[in-house]
Protein backbone atom coordinates (compact mmCIF):
# COMPACT_ATOMS: atom_id res chain seq x y z
CA UNK A 1 0.00 0.00 0.00
CA UNK A 2 2.81 2.36 0.95
CA UNK A 3 4.62 1.49 -2.27
CA UNK A 4 1.56 2.53 -4.33
CA UNK A 5 1.41 5.79 -2.39
CA UNK A 6 5.07 6.49 -3.02
CA UNK A 7 4.70 5.72 -6.72
CA UNK A 8 1.83 8.23 -6.94
CA UNK A 9 3.98 10.86 -5.20
CA UNK A 10 6.88 10.05 -7.54
CA UNK A 11 4.65 10.52 -10.59
CA UNK A 12 3.49 13.85 -9.20
CA UNK A 13 7.11 14.85 -8.58
CA UNK A 14 8.02 14.01 -12.18
CA UNK A 15 5.05 16.06 -13.43
CA UNK A 16 6.16 19.05 -11.35
CA UNK A 17 9.73 18.66 -12.64
CA UNK A 18 8.39 18.68 -16.20
CA UNK A 19 6.37 21.82 -15.43
CA UNK A 20 9.48 23.45 -13.95
CA UNK A 21 11.42 22.93 -17.16
CA UNK A 22 8.60 23.78 -19.59
CA UNK A 23 7.28 26.85 -17.77
CA UNK A 24 8.46 30.20 -19.14
CA UNK A 25 7.15 32.40 -16.30
CA UNK A 26 9.84 32.69 -13.60
CA UNK A 27 7.35 33.05 -10.73
CA UNK A 28 5.58 29.84 -11.80
CA UNK A 29 8.94 28.11 -12.07
CA UNK A 30 9.71 29.24 -8.51
CA UNK A 31 6.33 27.82 -7.41
CA UNK A 32 7.21 24.47 -8.93
CA UNK A 33 10.63 24.54 -7.27
CA UNK A 34 8.98 25.09 -3.88
CA UNK A 35 6.56 22.21 -4.40
CA UNK A 36 9.43 19.90 -5.25
CA UNK A 37 10.91 20.14 -1.71
CA UNK A 38 8.08 18.38 0.22
CA UNK A 39 7.55 15.92 -2.61
CA UNK A 40 11.20 14.80 -2.48
CA UNK A 41 10.94 14.44 1.31
CA UNK A 42 7.72 12.44 0.96
CA UNK A 43 8.99 10.11 -1.78
CA UNK A 44 11.88 9.24 0.52
CA UNK A 45 9.43 8.99 3.47
CA UNK A 46 11.54 11.38 5.51
CA UNK A 47 8.72 13.79 6.34
Amino acid sequence: MELVYRLIVLLLLLAVLQALYEEKDLSKQANAALVIIPLVLRVLMIK
Binding site: Y21, E22, K47
Partner: protein, 376 residues
Amino acid sequence: MKSNRITAAALLAISLFCAITAAKEFRDMWKEEPIARGPGVAEVRKLSDYFPKLKGTIGDTDIFVLNGSKPGGSILVLAGTHANEPAGLVAAVLLIENAKLESGRMFVVPRANRSALTHNDPQEGSPQRFTIKTPWGARWFRYGSRATNPVVQWPDPDVYIHASSGQRLSGNETRNLNRSYPGRPDGNFTEQVAFGITELIRQEKIDLTIDLHESSPEYPVINAVVAHERAMPLASEVIISLQLEGIPFSLEPSPRNLSGLSHRELGDYTDTLAVLMETANPSQGRLRGKTDESLVLTGIDHSYEQAVKLGRLFVSFDETGHPLEQRVGRHLAGVLEFARAFSKIYQDKPIIISNVPGYDELQKNGIGRYLLPVKQ
Protein backbone atom coordinates in the same frame (compact mmCIF):
# COMPACT_ATOMS: atom_id res chain seq x y z
CA MET B 1 13.76 28.30 -24.31
CA LYS B 2 17.36 28.10 -23.27
CA SER B 3 16.97 30.77 -20.57
CA ASN B 4 14.03 29.03 -18.87
CA ARG B 5 16.03 25.76 -18.78
CA ILE B 6 18.87 27.58 -17.07
CA THR B 7 16.55 29.12 -14.46
CA ALA B 8 14.83 25.73 -14.03
CA ALA B 9 18.18 24.06 -13.38
CA ALA B 10 19.17 26.81 -10.92
CA LEU B 11 15.84 26.61 -9.07
CA LEU B 12 16.01 22.82 -8.99
CA ALA B 13 19.49 23.00 -7.47
CA ILE B 14 18.14 25.35 -4.75
CA SER B 15 15.18 23.00 -4.13
CA LEU B 16 17.42 19.99 -3.79
CA PHE B 17 19.75 21.88 -1.45
CA CYS B 18 16.76 22.81 0.74
CA ALA B 19 15.41 19.23 0.60
CA ILE B 20 18.78 17.73 1.58
CA THR B 21 19.27 20.24 4.42
CA ALA B 22 15.76 19.62 5.72
CA ALA B 23 16.16 15.86 5.33
CA LYS B 24 19.28 15.92 7.48
CA GLU B 25 17.42 17.86 10.19
CA PHE B 26 14.46 15.48 10.10
CA ARG B 27 16.67 12.35 10.07
CA ASP B 28 18.53 13.65 13.13
CA MET B 29 15.28 13.25 15.05
CA TRP B 30 15.51 9.47 14.52
CA LYS B 31 18.74 9.30 16.49
CA GLU B 32 17.91 8.27 20.04
CA GLU B 33 19.18 10.12 23.08
CA PRO B 34 21.54 7.85 25.04
CA ILE B 35 20.31 6.46 28.34
CA ALA B 36 22.79 4.91 30.77
CA ARG B 37 22.04 1.74 32.70
CA GLY B 38 21.97 2.73 36.35
CA PRO B 39 23.02 0.59 39.31
CA GLY B 40 19.53 -0.87 39.75
CA VAL B 41 18.87 -1.94 36.15
CA ALA B 42 18.88 -5.73 35.90
CA GLU B 43 18.00 -6.00 32.21
CA VAL B 44 16.66 -4.08 29.25
CA ARG B 45 13.78 -5.72 27.44
CA LYS B 46 11.83 -4.76 24.34
CA LEU B 47 8.11 -4.23 23.93
CA SER B 48 8.23 -6.93 21.24
CA ASP B 49 9.07 -9.44 24.01
CA TYR B 50 5.40 -9.02 24.97
CA PHE B 51 3.94 -8.42 21.52
CA PRO B 52 6.26 -9.91 18.85
CA LYS B 53 4.53 -8.14 15.96
CA LEU B 54 6.33 -4.94 16.99
CA LYS B 55 9.79 -6.46 16.46
CA GLY B 56 11.85 -4.43 14.00
CA THR B 57 9.44 -1.48 14.02
CA ILE B 58 9.88 1.97 15.55
CA GLY B 59 7.23 0.89 18.09
CA ASP B 60 9.61 -1.65 19.64
CA THR B 61 10.69 0.45 22.59
CA ASP B 62 13.09 -0.29 25.47
CA ILE B 63 11.80 -1.46 28.84
CA PHE B 64 14.28 -1.03 31.71
CA VAL B 65 13.71 -3.61 34.43
CA LEU B 66 14.86 -2.98 38.01
CA ASN B 67 14.64 -5.97 40.36
CA GLY B 68 14.63 -5.78 44.13
CA SER B 69 16.62 -8.17 46.26
CA LYS B 70 13.38 -9.11 48.05
CA PRO B 71 10.06 -10.08 46.43
CA GLY B 72 7.24 -7.59 46.34
CA GLY B 73 4.82 -5.81 44.07
CA SER B 74 5.48 -4.47 40.59
CA ILE B 75 5.27 -0.94 39.27
CA LEU B 76 5.33 0.31 35.67
CA VAL B 77 6.37 3.89 34.93
CA LEU B 78 5.34 5.00 31.47
CA ALA B 79 6.89 8.15 29.99
CA GLY B 80 7.08 9.62 26.52
CA THR B 81 3.48 8.80 25.65
CA HIS B 82 3.34 12.39 24.41
CA ALA B 83 6.84 13.34 23.29
CA ASN B 84 6.19 17.09 23.63
CA GLU B 85 5.84 16.62 27.39
CA PRO B 86 9.50 16.23 28.33
CA ALA B 87 9.31 16.08 32.14
CA GLY B 88 8.09 12.48 31.92
CA LEU B 89 11.01 11.36 29.75
CA VAL B 90 13.57 13.08 31.99
CA ALA B 91 11.96 11.72 35.17
CA ALA B 92 12.05 8.21 33.69
CA VAL B 93 15.73 8.61 32.78
CA LEU B 94 16.51 9.73 36.35
CA LEU B 95 14.74 6.63 37.67
CA ILE B 96 16.67 4.37 35.26
CA GLU B 97 20.04 5.93 36.07
CA ASN B 98 19.63 6.28 39.86
CA ALA B 99 16.95 4.06 41.37
CA LYS B 100 17.61 0.88 43.30
CA LEU B 101 14.87 -1.52 44.30
CA GLU B 102 14.99 -3.06 47.74
CA SER B 103 11.71 -4.94 47.30
CA GLY B 104 9.56 -5.63 44.28
CA ARG B 105 10.15 -4.85 40.62
CA MET B 106 10.05 -1.64 38.62
CA PHE B 107 9.58 -1.46 34.85
CA VAL B 108 10.40 1.89 33.24
CA VAL B 109 9.42 2.73 29.66
CA PRO B 110 10.99 6.13 28.90
CA ARG B 111 9.80 6.30 25.27
CA ALA B 112 6.31 4.78 25.25
CA ASN B 113 5.52 6.18 21.80
CA ARG B 114 8.98 5.98 20.27
CA SER B 115 7.70 7.20 16.92
CA ALA B 116 6.42 10.45 18.46
CA LEU B 117 10.02 11.38 19.33
CA THR B 118 11.07 11.14 15.66
CA HIS B 119 9.29 14.34 14.61
CA ASN B 120 7.67 17.41 16.05
CA ASP B 121 4.47 19.19 15.25
CA PRO B 122 4.32 21.39 12.13
CA GLN B 123 3.92 25.14 12.67
CA GLU B 124 4.60 24.92 16.43
CA GLY B 125 8.19 26.16 16.23
CA SER B 126 9.24 23.64 18.85
CA PRO B 127 12.94 22.86 19.32
CA GLN B 128 14.04 19.43 18.16
CA ARG B 129 16.27 18.92 21.17
CA PHE B 130 17.06 20.34 24.57
CA THR B 131 20.29 19.98 26.51
CA ILE B 132 20.86 19.55 30.23
CA LYS B 133 24.22 20.51 31.68
CA THR B 134 25.89 17.95 33.93
CA PRO B 135 29.14 18.08 35.95
CA TRP B 136 30.87 16.00 33.23
CA GLY B 137 29.34 17.51 30.07
CA ALA B 138 25.94 17.86 28.46
CA ARG B 139 23.09 15.42 27.90
CA TRP B 140 20.64 15.95 25.07
CA PHE B 141 17.03 14.84 24.78
CA ARG B 142 14.60 15.10 21.91
CA TYR B 143 11.48 17.24 22.05
CA GLY B 144 8.93 15.43 19.92
CA SER B 145 5.27 15.45 19.06
CA ARG B 146 2.07 14.52 20.85
CA ALA B 147 1.36 11.93 18.19
CA THR B 148 2.88 9.13 16.13
CA ASN B 149 4.96 10.26 13.14
CA PRO B 150 2.72 10.39 10.03
CA VAL B 151 5.57 8.74 8.12
CA VAL B 152 4.77 5.64 10.19
CA GLN B 153 0.98 5.92 10.28
CA TRP B 154 -0.91 7.79 7.60
CA PRO B 155 -3.45 8.97 6.47
CA ASP B 156 -5.58 10.07 9.39
CA PRO B 157 -9.30 9.37 9.05
CA ASP B 158 -11.77 12.26 9.19
CA VAL B 159 -13.13 10.77 12.40
CA TYR B 160 -11.23 8.47 14.74
CA ILE B 161 -13.47 5.78 16.17
CA HIS B 162 -12.01 4.17 19.29
CA ALA B 163 -12.28 0.44 18.64
CA SER B 164 -13.57 -0.96 21.92
CA SER B 165 -15.97 1.84 22.84
CA GLY B 166 -17.07 3.33 19.54
CA GLN B 167 -16.15 6.80 20.87
CA ARG B 168 -15.70 9.33 18.06
CA LEU B 169 -12.82 11.78 18.16
CA SER B 170 -11.08 14.09 15.74
CA GLY B 171 -9.16 12.17 13.04
CA ASN B 172 -5.67 13.10 14.21
CA GLU B 173 -6.31 11.43 17.57
CA THR B 174 -5.87 8.14 15.73
CA ARG B 175 -2.12 8.69 16.24
CA ASN B 176 -2.45 9.56 19.94
CA LEU B 177 -1.21 6.66 22.09
CA ASN B 178 -3.25 7.94 25.01
CA ARG B 179 -6.46 7.57 23.01
CA SER B 180 -5.61 4.09 21.75
CA TYR B 181 -5.68 1.88 24.83
CA PRO B 182 -6.20 -1.01 25.35
CA GLY B 183 -5.03 -1.33 21.75
CA ARG B 184 -5.58 -4.03 19.14
CA PRO B 185 -3.14 -6.63 17.81
CA ASP B 186 -4.47 -6.07 14.29
CA GLY B 187 -5.08 -2.32 14.65
CA ASN B 188 -3.09 0.59 13.32
CA PHE B 189 0.51 1.22 14.46
CA THR B 190 -0.47 3.30 17.53
CA GLU B 191 -3.09 0.74 18.58
CA GLN B 192 -0.45 -1.99 18.27
CA VAL B 193 1.94 -0.07 20.56
CA ALA B 194 -0.94 0.39 23.03
CA PHE B 195 -1.67 -3.34 22.80
CA GLY B 196 2.01 -4.11 23.47
CA ILE B 197 1.93 -2.00 26.66
CA THR B 198 -1.32 -3.65 27.75
CA GLU B 199 0.29 -7.08 27.17
CA LEU B 200 3.35 -6.03 29.21
CA ILE B 201 1.01 -5.19 32.11
CA ARG B 202 -0.93 -8.45 31.74
CA GLN B 203 2.07 -10.75 31.32
CA GLU B 204 4.13 -9.19 34.12
CA LYS B 205 1.05 -8.84 36.36
CA ILE B 206 1.90 -5.19 37.01
CA ASP B 207 0.25 -4.00 40.24
CA LEU B 208 0.59 -0.26 39.70
CA THR B 209 0.93 1.74 36.47
CA ILE B 210 1.89 5.43 36.48
CA ASP B 211 1.66 7.30 33.16
CA LEU B 212 3.72 10.53 33.25
CA HIS B 213 2.34 13.50 31.31
CA GLU B 214 2.39 17.28 31.20
CA SER B 215 -0.32 19.76 30.33
CA SER B 216 -0.46 23.35 29.19
CA PRO B 217 -1.07 26.01 31.88
CA GLU B 218 -4.49 26.86 30.42
CA TYR B 219 -5.72 23.25 30.69
CA PRO B 220 -7.82 22.49 33.77
CA VAL B 221 -6.26 19.09 34.57
CA ILE B 222 -2.84 20.28 35.70
CA ASN B 223 -0.56 19.47 38.63
CA ALA B 224 -2.96 16.63 39.05
CA VAL B 225 -3.26 12.89 39.45
CA VAL B 226 -5.99 11.20 37.41
CA ALA B 227 -6.92 7.85 38.90
CA HIS B 228 -9.04 4.89 37.86
CA GLU B 229 -11.72 4.16 40.48
CA ARG B 230 -9.86 1.07 41.73
CA ALA B 231 -6.78 3.24 42.30
CA MET B 232 -8.69 6.02 44.09
CA PRO B 233 -7.99 4.92 47.71
CA LEU B 234 -4.28 4.67 46.90
CA ALA B 235 -4.21 7.97 44.99
CA SER B 236 -6.08 9.75 47.82
CA GLU B 237 -3.40 8.72 50.28
CA VAL B 238 -0.68 9.85 47.88
CA ILE B 239 -2.28 13.26 47.38
CA ILE B 240 -2.53 13.85 51.15
CA SER B 241 1.12 12.86 51.65
CA LEU B 242 2.30 15.10 48.81
CA GLN B 243 0.26 18.01 50.22
CA LEU B 244 1.96 17.50 53.58
CA GLU B 245 5.34 17.56 51.82
CA GLY B 246 4.40 20.91 50.27
CA ILE B 247 3.89 19.51 46.77
CA PRO B 248 0.22 20.19 46.02
CA PHE B 249 -1.59 17.96 43.53
CA SER B 250 -5.29 17.74 42.79
CA LEU B 251 -7.01 14.39 42.40
CA GLU B 252 -9.28 13.77 39.42
CA PRO B 253 -11.40 10.67 38.87
CA SER B 254 -10.86 8.97 35.51
CA PRO B 255 -14.00 9.79 33.50
CA ARG B 256 -15.94 6.63 32.62
CA ASN B 257 -17.11 8.09 29.31
CA LEU B 258 -13.67 9.14 28.03
CA SER B 259 -12.21 6.11 26.32
CA GLY B 260 -8.77 5.18 25.11
CA LEU B 261 -6.84 6.79 27.96
CA SER B 262 -4.35 4.84 30.06
CA HIS B 263 -6.03 5.55 33.41
CA ARG B 264 -9.38 4.34 32.04
CA GLU B 265 -8.59 1.39 29.78
CA LEU B 266 -5.57 -0.10 31.60
CA GLY B 267 -7.68 -0.04 34.77
CA ASP B 268 -10.66 -1.64 33.00
CA TYR B 269 -8.84 -4.21 30.85
CA THR B 270 -6.08 -5.30 33.23
CA ASP B 271 -5.71 -5.82 36.98
CA THR B 272 -3.28 -2.92 37.38
CA LEU B 273 -4.06 0.17 39.44
CA ALA B 274 -3.84 2.85 36.75
CA VAL B 275 -3.00 6.49 37.38
CA LEU B 276 -1.75 9.40 35.30
CA MET B 277 0.21 12.43 36.53
CA GLU B 278 0.24 15.91 34.98
CA THR B 279 2.66 18.79 35.53
CA ALA B 280 2.64 22.33 34.07
CA ASN B 281 4.50 22.64 30.76
CA PRO B 282 4.39 26.13 29.19
CA SER B 283 6.20 24.94 26.03
CA GLN B 284 3.13 23.00 24.86
CA GLY B 285 0.53 25.65 25.65
CA ARG B 286 -1.40 27.73 23.15
CA LEU B 287 -0.83 31.07 24.87
CA ARG B 288 2.95 30.78 24.95
CA GLY B 289 5.35 33.29 23.45
CA LYS B 290 8.69 32.43 21.89
CA THR B 291 9.12 28.67 21.77
CA ASP B 292 12.68 27.52 22.18
CA GLU B 293 14.94 25.30 24.24
CA SER B 294 15.04 27.89 27.01
CA LEU B 295 11.25 27.76 27.40
CA VAL B 296 11.41 23.95 27.70
CA LEU B 297 14.09 24.16 30.40
CA THR B 298 13.06 27.24 32.40
CA GLY B 299 9.32 27.35 31.80
CA ILE B 300 9.57 31.14 31.93
CA ASP B 301 7.12 32.86 29.60
CA HIS B 302 5.96 36.49 29.76
CA SER B 303 2.75 35.73 27.84
CA TYR B 304 1.71 33.34 30.57
CA GLU B 305 2.59 35.93 33.23
CA GLN B 306 0.03 38.19 31.54
CA ALA B 307 -2.48 35.37 31.05
CA VAL B 308 -2.51 34.50 34.76
CA LYS B 309 -3.31 38.14 35.60
CA LEU B 310 -6.33 37.85 33.30
CA GLY B 311 -7.47 34.72 35.11
CA ARG B 312 -6.95 32.46 32.09
CA LEU B 313 -4.76 29.81 33.74
CA PHE B 314 -5.38 26.86 36.02
CA VAL B 315 -1.98 27.09 37.68
CA SER B 316 -0.02 29.86 39.35
CA PHE B 317 2.50 31.60 37.08
CA ASP B 318 5.12 34.21 37.91
CA GLU B 319 8.53 35.32 36.66
CA THR B 320 10.13 32.09 37.93
CA GLY B 321 8.03 30.03 35.50
CA HIS B 322 7.75 26.25 35.80
CA PRO B 323 11.30 24.96 35.31
CA LEU B 324 12.02 21.40 34.26
CA GLU B 325 13.55 20.67 37.70
CA GLN B 326 10.23 21.48 39.32
CA ARG B 327 8.20 19.37 36.88
CA VAL B 328 10.56 16.39 37.01
CA GLY B 329 10.72 16.74 40.79
CA ARG B 330 6.93 16.56 41.02
CA HIS B 331 6.86 13.40 38.90
CA LEU B 332 9.58 11.71 40.92
CA ALA B 333 7.97 12.71 44.22
CA GLY B 334 4.70 11.26 42.93
CA VAL B 335 6.25 7.96 41.83
CA LEU B 336 8.03 7.54 45.18
CA GLU B 337 4.92 8.42 47.14
CA PHE B 338 2.79 5.98 45.10
CA ALA B 339 5.30 3.18 45.81
CA ARG B 340 5.34 4.10 49.51
CA ALA B 341 1.54 4.23 49.79
CA PHE B 342 1.15 0.99 47.80
CA SER B 343 3.58 -0.77 50.17
CA LYS B 344 1.58 0.50 53.14
CA ILE B 345 -1.79 -0.64 51.79
CA TYR B 346 -0.59 -3.93 50.24
CA GLN B 347 1.87 -5.01 52.90
CA ASP B 348 2.39 -8.44 51.29
CA LYS B 349 3.64 -6.77 48.09
CA PRO B 350 6.01 -3.96 49.10
CA ILE B 351 7.67 -1.80 46.44
CA ILE B 352 10.63 -0.10 48.09
CA ILE B 353 12.59 2.29 45.89
CA SER B 354 15.75 4.05 47.05
CA ASN B 355 18.49 6.33 45.70
CA VAL B 356 16.10 8.60 43.78
CA PRO B 357 16.62 12.37 44.21
CA GLY B 358 13.86 14.02 46.19
CA TYR B 359 11.97 17.13 45.11
CA ASP B 360 14.05 19.54 47.23
CA GLU B 361 17.36 17.93 46.20
CA LEU B 362 16.44 18.32 42.55
CA GLN B 363 15.56 22.02 43.00
CA LYS B 364 18.81 22.63 44.86
CA ASN B 365 21.26 20.58 42.78
CA GLY B 366 19.59 20.56 39.35
CA ILE B 367 18.83 17.60 37.10
CA GLY B 368 22.32 17.28 35.60
CA ARG B 369 23.79 16.29 38.98
CA TYR B 370 21.82 13.01 38.76
CA LEU B 371 22.46 12.11 35.10
CA LEU B 372 25.19 9.54 34.43
CA PRO B 373 27.97 9.97 31.85
CA VAL B 374 27.10 8.42 28.49
CA LYS B 375 28.81 7.90 25.14
CA GLN B 376 27.56 10.74 22.94
